[in-house]
């Protein structure tokens, strides 16, 4: 396993210290660590366990329980496809199939080249615009199989290929 760099470790210490005296802070800490680092490394779980007087196994149990926490770093571009009911009945499954093909990332996984993570998310609450997707934080409504959304993915794929060729 790769060792975390000093910066990341310091960030974790800061976050843990900030919430230490709060009641039941484990989930708050995990959220902040994931926001900072993009995932929850094992070192963070150990530090959180120590600060909250629980075992690393218990903290790991919390991480595993909640869908939003991940123990693996995400890809460079994160694509979320909403799989809430409204999106599903309007064809979100077809859309996911298409995005898998376009990016090479399987659902809830990261592509082998580390460029794309494809997450099927729970309802985003924008059901009026179903199907709804997010690319790197930007929302796309009415994202059908051929739409602004898939065009944007194609654009990113092309750009990354170009950048890859240059490098």
């Amino acid at each position: 396993m790769e060792k975390l760099n000093c910066d990341a470790l310091r960030k974790i210490d800061e976050i843990v210290a900030k919430h230490k005296d709060q009641a039941g802070p484990c989930i708050e800490m995990l959220h902040e660590v994931q926001n900072e680092l993009g995932y929850v490394p094992f070192e963070a779980m150990e530090k959180i366990a120590e600060a909250t007087g629980s075992s690393p196994a218990e903290v790991y149990g919390v991480v595993m329980f909640y869908a939003q926490f991940t123990t693996e770093p995400k890809g460079k571009h994160v694509i979320n496809v909403c799989l809430g009911t409204a999106c599903y009945v309007k064809g979100a499954q077809k859309l996911i199939d298409r995005v898998e093909k376009l990016t090479g990332a399987a659902v809830n996984k990261t592509s082998a080249d580390g460029l794309f993570s494809l997450d099927a998310t729970r309802c985003l609450g924008a059901c009026g615009l179903a199907p709804v997707c997010i690319i790197d934080g930007k929302y796309y409504g009415n994202a059908l199989v051929d739409s602004e959304f898939t065009n944007e993915i194609r654009r990113i794929v092309r750009e990354e290929k170009k950048a890859g060729a240059k490098a």
């Binding site: 329980f65 869908a67 926490f69 924008a126 059901c127 179903a130 796309y140």
Partner: protein, 633 residues
């Protein structure tokens, strides 16, 4: 440092000052001084419209107004959701009461130049409805079908005020209910008012709110808690998000009233992390309320202390269940625990706790201000007041609608929702999310009450309402929900952990053409066992989507099993793609787009054929064929 509001006089003074500016939006009559050219341009900044670039639109409107030298007279106001998400981004110009739909950032110039300066309504952007009898276009906002039948109480301020400005909330009677309660009523009187209003939990189960509060109040001890459940997990429901985004102070004030009634001094809002805009607005609202002394210590100088903390969920549907939610607030795995003890006896930190849903709390201030009789007069039977539904799926007008209880499903789907798009035939409406069921055409005239929906085989739930048309397969819908439940089952109790898995396996077999008729009976039996044996609400209601579809759409299950056919052409394994030789023009477009090289033929000479063995049923040939020659059987 802002001046704290500690007296009614100070509150009313703030309101008076704010009214002058709010009057353009709220009142029919307003008093402008001669020569004044005041307008408010309201722009929706809910999740839906933000996705449609409404933030950029707001910036552009401000720039254009600045250029025109109108920045003082015309205010651009960022508001919560107007409800009509289908038409977003939505802009409303007051006092003209003109609503614009699908407004893009580039339309800012026209709105300023043509409407504000020129005084002309921009017809091609204006919201309209088509009168179903005469076919004429209706532009009057009060006569538009989507809004006409609604009665907005919980959503009253969404799309009317800036949720990030506490003064606007105070301007429309905000925090008066809290003042009245703290200075004029005893906690028991408050509970009696809520009881008399007949308000019931809007999260789904419909437990009487006043009774819940009474249980907690009757517990001994000083350390008690109140929780606002904003873990809106039902996929397809978004009223709680909308209320928090559009009117966060109504929730803070409602929680403070609730805390006073039950004797709590600390509250938590447990909210999904999937709602970043709502979380942010809530944080702003809490900060503003603390600055003005409307939260914190010695509120209104009465000695009442109350503080609110936000706790984020992390993606677990079961955390909407109250005991699981409490575990999650305490930083643990969100697993439910057996009741009793009920949270009112032993909740967060093992102290008495009352948990209410966002929409329930949003009604509290209005019940206090207008009286319980006013509230109880709305609705039907034991279901008083209004309910918000999130209308989605195959429906023309998607969005949030708030209607008095007792309205029929037909009125919501056809009068408000405008029916199914593209002239497709209505098949079913799903209410109650993964805990609810599907209802058919026959049940559409049922007046909506908690009891009626349960009797029909569904439930109120938090208010998701997904319309399905002839293109949706009911077995597939049941399977979708069962997949969701399997994913979200916490695994603590066996009936839910294993029972739902077995149910999903049977459904999968049926959708793949490997089902048997015995399976239907087995499924029904297992459904009943899971319902009776599961520990919490999630498991107990999980079989509902299967039971209701079996009840109303048994023929579709039978078609999958006996004829190996999916009547709605959804279940992939049961589909075959065929090219109709009479329609094929030999253009080769399908073959060139086929990712599996399953289509052969000769361009311009020989009609194309699909090799069923190779076909992966992706449907690309249908999308690409310009002559409608590809058919699905």
């Amino acid at each position: 440092m802002k001046e704290k509001i500690t007296t009614l006089k100070a509150l009313l003074a703030v309101r008076e000052a704010e009214r002058r500016y709010l009057q353009l939006r709220l009142e029919d009559k307003f008093s402008l001084e001669e020569g004044e050219q005041h307008k408010n341009i309201l722009v929706c900044a809910g999740t839906g419209c933000t996705a449609g670039d409404s933030a950029i639109l707001i910036k552009k409107l401000n720039e254009k107004l600045e250029e025109a030298g109108l920045a003082e007279e015309v205010k651009v106001v960022k508001t919560g959701c107007f409800g009509f998400c289908q038409k977003g981004p939505i802009v409303a110009v007051y006092p003209d009461r003109v609503y614009y739909t699908h407004v893009k950032p580039d339309d800012a110039e026209r709105i300023v130049n043509d409407h504000v300066i020129g005084g002309h309504v921009i017809k091609d952007l204006q919201m309209f409805d088509t009168d179903r009898k005469t076919g004429e276009k209706v532009y009057d906002i009060d006569k538009i079908g989507f809004y006409e039948k609604q009665q907005r109480i919980a959503l009253r301020n969404c799309g009317r005020i800036n949720p990030e400005n506490i003064y606007e909330y105070i301007g429309i009677d905000g925090y008066e209910a809290l003042y009245r309660v703290l200075t004029e009523k005893t906690p028991q009187e408050v509970i009696d008012i809520v009881k008399a209003s007949g308000l019931r939990g809007r999260g789904g189960a419909g437990f009487p709110t006043g009774l819940k509060w009474q249980f907690e109040k009757d517990q001994p001890g000083d350390e008690k808690y109140v929780i606002c459940n904003a873990d809106e997990g039902d996929p397809g429901a978004f009223m709680d998000r909308s209320i928090l985004e559009g009117d966060p102070h109504a929730i803070l004030e409602g929680m403070a009233i609730m805390a006073y009634a039950v004797g709590a001094h600390q509250g938590y809002v447990y909210i999904r992390a999937e709602y970043p805009i709502a979380v942010n607005r809530l944080r702003i609202a809490i900060r503003e309320a603390k600055e003005l002394g409307l939260l914190g210590e010695n509120i209104f100088g009465t000695g009442f202390n109350f503080d609110i903390e936000i706790r984020l969920g992390a993606g677990a549907f079961v955390c909407g269940e109250e005991t699981a939610l409490i575990a999650s607030i305490m930083g643990k795995r969100g697993m439910p625990s057996p009741k009793p003890p009920f949270p009112a006896v032993s909740g967060v930190w093992q102290k008495p706790t009352s948990i209410n849903n966002v929409e329930t709390i949003a009604n509290i201030t209005q019940i206090i201000l207008n009286g319980p009789e006013w509230y109880a007069a709305m609705g039907m039977g034991k279901s008083t007041g209004t309910k918000v539904f999130a209308l989605g799926g195959k429906i023309n007008n998607t969005g949030l609608v708030e209607i008095p209880m007792g309205t029929t499903l037909r009125e919501i789907i056809y009068d408000i929702g405008g029916g199914c798009p593209e002239g497709k035939k209505f098949k079913a409406v799903q209410t109650g999310g993964p805990s609810g069921g599907c209802l058919t055409e026959k049940e559409l005239d049922t007046p909506i009450t908690y009891e009626n929906l349960v009797a029909a085989g569904s439930m109120m739930g938090s208010g998701g309402m997904i319309v399905l048309d002839e293109d949706n397969c009911m077995v597939d819908v049941a399977k979708f929900y069962m997949e969701f439940i399997c994913d979200e089952s916490c695994g603590k109790c066996t009936p839910c952990r294993i029972g739902t898995k077995r149910l999903l396996e049977m459904l999968t077999k049926i959708t793949e053409g490997n089902g048997t008729m015995e399976m239907l009976d087995e499924m029904e039996e297992l459904c009943n066992e899971v319902r009776d044996g599961a520990l919490c609400g999630l498991g107990q209601t999980a079989p509902n989507p299967i039971l209701s579809t079996l009840r109303y759409f048994r023929d579709e299950y039978e078609a999958h099993i006996l004829e190996k056919r999916c009547p709605a052409h959804v279940c992939k394994k049961l589909l075959t793609y065929v090219i109709n030789p009479d329609k094929c023009k030999c253009c080769s477009l399908c073959a060139r787009n086929c990712p599996a090289d399953a289509i052969t033929g000769k361009p311009g000479k020989e009609v194309y054929k699909i090799d069923a063995e190779k076909c992966i049923k992706c449907g690309l040939c249908i999308t690409n064929c310009k002559f409608g020659a590809v058919e699905r059987h």
